[in-house]
């Protein structure tokens, strides 16, 4: 099986600054790949290159076997869905209308209207916005808008989901809900590439991580391999310590006052 997402030696320069420097990654179908790293390390730029929004200065990115820099917008819309980090400012449409817009790429396919509706309803159920279906988007809280946005990209039913901090505005309960939803989507064969700030969320829910610093991929692998105290303390300029999560089979990242004895 070909990888769902592949990037090879991506370099992206804007003006004088190099935002990405030779980054490669691979995500297989059924996998949650987390992109982590400090502010300004190039996470969003990398995701937007995978989405086909930005054309890399050097290197290439593919979704399935399609080069994202050369694909048509219509083809890309059937291959990958993208959820940006920003809340929607002015959007007078109801949540159900917005989630239905996610079906737009499949509007010309031979699909019954009832099937479109069922997909929309199930996406809203998954992200816990079904009770908000008739509410206008701009009457919702940021967190509710974020979950409605996630329902929209789920309804797009693409083999690849690209998500930029989908939990940034969510309370801790909904953070876990959303990450579990991503896990179950991956269980269904979707490849998920997700930018996350919260290292513990990434450690608990991503199958593999890629850690960026100043535009370079400094580590990639399982959370246990990538998240080491020494590495994180250096990159984030903040002493950190790694423990084993008491109940989950994953590392637990703690900020500390000074680098103490390793756990």
């Amino acid at each position: 099986m070909s990888p769902a997402v592949r990037a090879e030696e991506i370099t992206y320069r804007r003006g004088q600054s190099t935002l990405l420097d030779g980054v490669s990654l691979l995500a297989e179908p059924g996998e949650v790949l987390g992109i982590v790293g400090p502010n300004g390390s190039g996470k969003t730029t990398l995701l937007r290159i995978l989405a086909g929004d930005l054309v890399p200065t050097a290197g290439s990115a593919w979704v399935q076997d399609v080069d994202t820099a050369q694909a048509t917008l219509q083809d890309l819309a059937k291959l990958r869905a993208y959820l940006g980090p920003d809340g929607v400012s002015i959007n007078p449409f109801a949540v159900r209308d917005v989630v239905t817009m996610g079906r737009h790429p499949h509007r010309r396919a031979m699909i019954e209207a009832a099937d479109h509706d069922a997909i929309v309803e199930s996406a809203m159920e998954r992200t816990d916005v079904i009770h908000l279906a008739s509410r206008e988007m701009d009457s919702l809280s940021t967190g509710e808008q974020q979950r409605a946005g996630l329902a929209r990209v789920i309804a797009q039913e693409t083999p690849v989901l690209l998500l930029d901090e989908p939990t940034s505005a969510l309370d801790i309960g909904h953070q876990e809900t959303v990450m579990r939803v991503l896990g179950s989507l991956a269980g269904g064969g979707t490849a998920i590439v997700v930018v996350l700030h919260d290292l513990n969320l990434a450690a608990a829910h991503a199958n593999r991580l890629i850690l960026l610093d100043a535009g370079r991929a400094v580590a990639s692998g399982t959370p246990t391999e990538v998240l080491t105290g020494e590495r994180l303390s250096a990159i984030y300029r903040q002493p950190m310590q790694i423990m084993q999560h008491p109940h989950r089979d994953c590392p637990l990242v703690l900020t500390v006052d000074s680098t103490g004895p390793a756990a």
Partner: protein, 346 residues
Amino acid sequence: MTASVDAVDPRSRRRGAAVTALAALLLVVVVLGLLSGAVAVSPTDLFHMLGQRLGISDDAERLTDSVLWAIRLPRVLAGAVVGAGLGAAGAALQGTFRNHMADPHLVGISPAAGLGAVVGIALTPIGGPPLIMMVGAATAGAVAALLMRRIAKRIVESNQFILIGLALGLGMLAWLGAIVLAWDSPRVPTFTFWVFGGLAGSTWSTLGAGTPVVLVGLVTLVASARSLDLLALGETEAQHLGLDVDRVIAVVLVGVGVAVGGAVGLGGAIGFVGLIVPLLLRRWIGPGHRWLIPVSALAGAAMVVAVDILARTIASPVEIPVGLLTAILGAPVFIWFLLRVGRVRS
């Protein structure tokens, strides 16, 4: 304002009611428009004229027949066409720029269309058809709309967008005024017409030239309705759903410019119709452009015909320019809306 859980979207029920009510309103104001004016006309006169025109009646021709046929009917119809063009253009413009304060008049498209109309008149041989003026207005309207898109791409603050449009419009209006005053030709409508509009000069000839232009604009906008819905998500998001955003916006803006151009060629610069009609309708029937654009056309038509009746009658025999009255009615609504938005945001 928001629906209860599990209720059928109340907007779909309201749409039917809105279309019925507005169509009835349009019919009423059209009849009232035909009946009111300096020469007294009764409903029987109206039927007499229709009978004459349709060749059903053999009665002798009355004075009211020619008043109705040659003066009032083209004027009332021109009002409806102008209102339809402005209402639909306003709805599409607000959707394109995701800015509910956008109005063809406020962002400079109407003044540009006026300038284009005057250039068109200058290019028309004496006694030539009014279509050249309409095409001039439509072209300039489309160019101004596309220019505003370029400006909008460079800025983030929505109020800044309106202010730039306002400055653009005032600048164009000044050029227009200077040209009209300096040229001082009976072929060019007065400066008042270009600033505050007026339907007094409507004839079958101008109506015949302006209506197809407005219709081309309207059809373009209605055809782009679904794409405009997707734009509400944001341009990047719409693009991720496969929409060629730049192309769609260019098509819509040309449609806006053409509809406004036809409207300005027919009725001069009439402000606030394109602003308040979609603003109020969106709250009534919802934001979906497949309904909002045609229903805005219907409501805009009824509004301009109604306001034109006031314009002709309140200070009779003096006529108040129709755009003055739309501004008197529209300005408070606009301010109310700005204050409401300010309260929500803060």
